[in-house]
Homo-oligomer: 395 residues x 2
């Protein structure tokens, strides 16, 4: 029976142990797992069985790092201080090994499958499934001559896409952050539900949303040996720049032609937008401002110009991006939406970097939208809010 046991384990899926107080299982839990629990105040209880471990630490990436306490039954437990609403990545460090908690679904972040809890935001329904028409999220594969590989992307099609075969739709290219992948915007970000709800409310135009894999290596380029490369070193920065330059070519030479020939898009710059979070925002600025023939709307969610935001340097509107910011009237005519956002609780260098870019744009008379998400960090609750606002202004 050893393996057939597998056929039964899962039946915990329809069963939970009873909970007391306001603690309820996080919606990110695997079926049948009581833990993690979240209460109305946003406190999180975590539990894992590890009878022979000497030390376990819970590592919330944008939150508390707390030691768990061993119980007599071999389980380790801890209750965190309150966390703000939203999705919080975490890992467990078990005797020095950083691993995911097997009690939650896996969310790709930090370049690995990570754990997460969801702290509900009272009254917010815009990012959860509602009784409205739903779009589909489609997995597609396209061959890129730039990378010489098949690449995987996710494409949201709006609710009426299959029933209105004569309609064509504008397209938003929406990028994940560093260490995440093309699944982040739907699994962590709930982008499909945000669009469904926004479209149903008449606040967004029906649109296609393309979520691509944001890393690339040019075909034939040798694999870099990064074994001894220091984190944040010039070699690491060079690898980043090479990847983003290859991704820029992939988007403009492979992905956009594939999308426009596969989906009923309106294949012109007026109906094409790009936005991204963190690293994806940096990529968005580089790709859109270098290709204004392809894009007319630009969104940077806690990430924008890579050479400015983190360096603290100022925007020189005369020289940046071949002088595109030097003529505000011409810019306004060409770029229908320039959107910048950051959470008020983000790390200071990011918050100040985005604010400084905002001030530079004001000084240069470049029209744009600037939004600060109150009380949120460099995390998905900020980017859900960003997407809702950005999408409602598009097209």
């Amino acid at each position: 029976m050893k393996r057939l046991g597998m056929a039964m384990i899962l039946f915990a899926s329809v069963c939970y142990a009873q909970q007391t107080g306001s603690f309820k299982p996080s919606e990110t839990n695997v079926w049948g797992s009581d833990y993690p629990l979240v209460d109305d105040a946003g406190r999180v209880q975590i539990r894992i069985k590890a009878p022979e471990a000497a030390k376990i630490r819970v590592n919330f990436w944008s939150g508390p790092k707390v030691d768990m306490v061993k119980q007599p039954d071999g389980f380790w437990t801890v209750t965190t201080p309150p966390l703000v609403p939203g999705l919080h990545y975490y890992t467990l460090i078990i005797d020095g090994a950083e691993v995911a908690d097997p009690n939650t679904q896996a969310y790709f972040g930090g370049s690995k499958p990570a754990s997460a809890v969801e702290v509900p935001e009272p009254g917010s329904t815009y990012y959860s499934i509602q009784n409205v028409p739903h779009g589909q999220v489609r997995e597609v594969w396209y061959f890129s001559k730039v990378t010489g590989t098949w690449r995987h992307a996710l494409v949201y099609t709006p609710p009426d896409y299959d029933t209105q075969p004569n309609l064509r739709y504008p397209a938003l290219y929406l990028q994940h952050g560093g260490g995440e992948d093309e699944t982040g915007w739907t699994r962590q970000g709930k982008a499909n539900f945000i669009l469904d709800n926004c479209i149903a409310a008449g606040e967004c135009k029906p649109m296609i949303v393309v979520m691509a894999y944001g890393y690339a290596r040019r075909a034939g380029r040798p694999v870099r040996d990064m074994t001894n490369v220091e984190f944040g070193s010039p070699e690491m920065m060079k690898a980043m720049q090479e990847s983003t330059a290859a991704f820029e070519d992939d988007v403009t030479q492979a992905l956009i032609p594939f999308i426009d020939s596969t989906f009923r898009t309106q294949p012109d710059r007026n109906h094409r937008a790009m936005a991204g979070l963190s690293m994806g925002g940096m990529q968005t600025f580089q790709i859109t401002l270098n290709h204004l023939d392809l894009f007319s709307c630009i969104g940077g969610f806690s990430g924008a110009d890579g050479s400015l935001v983190l360096s603290g340097r100022s925007l020189d509107p005369k020289t940046a991006y071949n002088g595109v910011f030097s003529d505000p009237a011409a810019f306004a005519e060409k770029v229908h939406l320039l959107w910048l956002g950051v959470g008020t609780e983000e790390p200071e260098n990011m918050r100040e970097g985005i604010r400084k870019l905002h001030r530079s744009l004001l000084e240069a008379n470049i029209g744009h939208v600037y939004y600060e998400s109150p009380g949120t960090d460099h995390e998905w609750q900020t980017w859900r809010r960003d997407l809702k606002d950005f999408a409602s202004r598009l097209f």
Copy 2:
């Protein structure tokens, strides 16, 4: 910079350290992770950093359980004996905590995100991406009055689905095994590539494949407290039966109507098939044989009649499923394909249970296809082969 570091970690994505010998990174690895490595003989090298751990064991669910060895640098390593080709789930047991290896992508199995390595099968290209037209895998959500919840399913649409808007397609309902979920058939099984390649070769008819979430709890039914329920106990079996009965109603009353109203199916029994692996095979037998008005083709992959296969009881063709097997000629007219398969290396009770059912069907003169996958266990390589053969005989 603490969190912005995240923006850079990933650049390992385009970089691997160099390997020697025939060991190569498993295709299941996260980007930038050298380990696990697999060599031409099927041996697997695993490595994890855990400087303070006292004991780490690698637990291949259908393979070796081996202790890892601590190295002076704080990493633990091990090389397994050769594994047969295919995808192998595993976990690491770190000082008593069973967790996934952060170096591989997560695959949902055993009711949690698990690790896996892929040992290539020399010469087999039928389950990998090829330069042929590709279908899409679409995420859809449907509301089930049976469960009172929104339910998530994946739907494969064949390559010409969007370009041939006047064509309608037959549909295969394809179920995962116990402890897995609706993502298993594409992520672990590569069902979409198997269909793409089979259709391109002219060996399968273009078809829609519906992959649903195979657990259900009826609306309003209280959550069972399973905390102290023993594994394999009568209470556990009862929970299984309740779940499958609710899933049967969900498939027939909610899922099929949703699929037929959302996709261009041929919405009749002659163009509807169901198959599943392990628990999904048991569900398939129950659902199709109770609803032959809805299905004409039936596949059991390492799983068939739940009450027979594991109990060792014999099929009584006069009484089973209201006597549907009592008239071989009538059965043959009604059921266009009855397909059974098992791997030669599966656990004895499963292998013998399926063989016994096969012999019972022979004795009862019930026409069917019986296939034994040589050298494979209760694992995905068996089910990939099953799907390829089964799909080529459909419709």
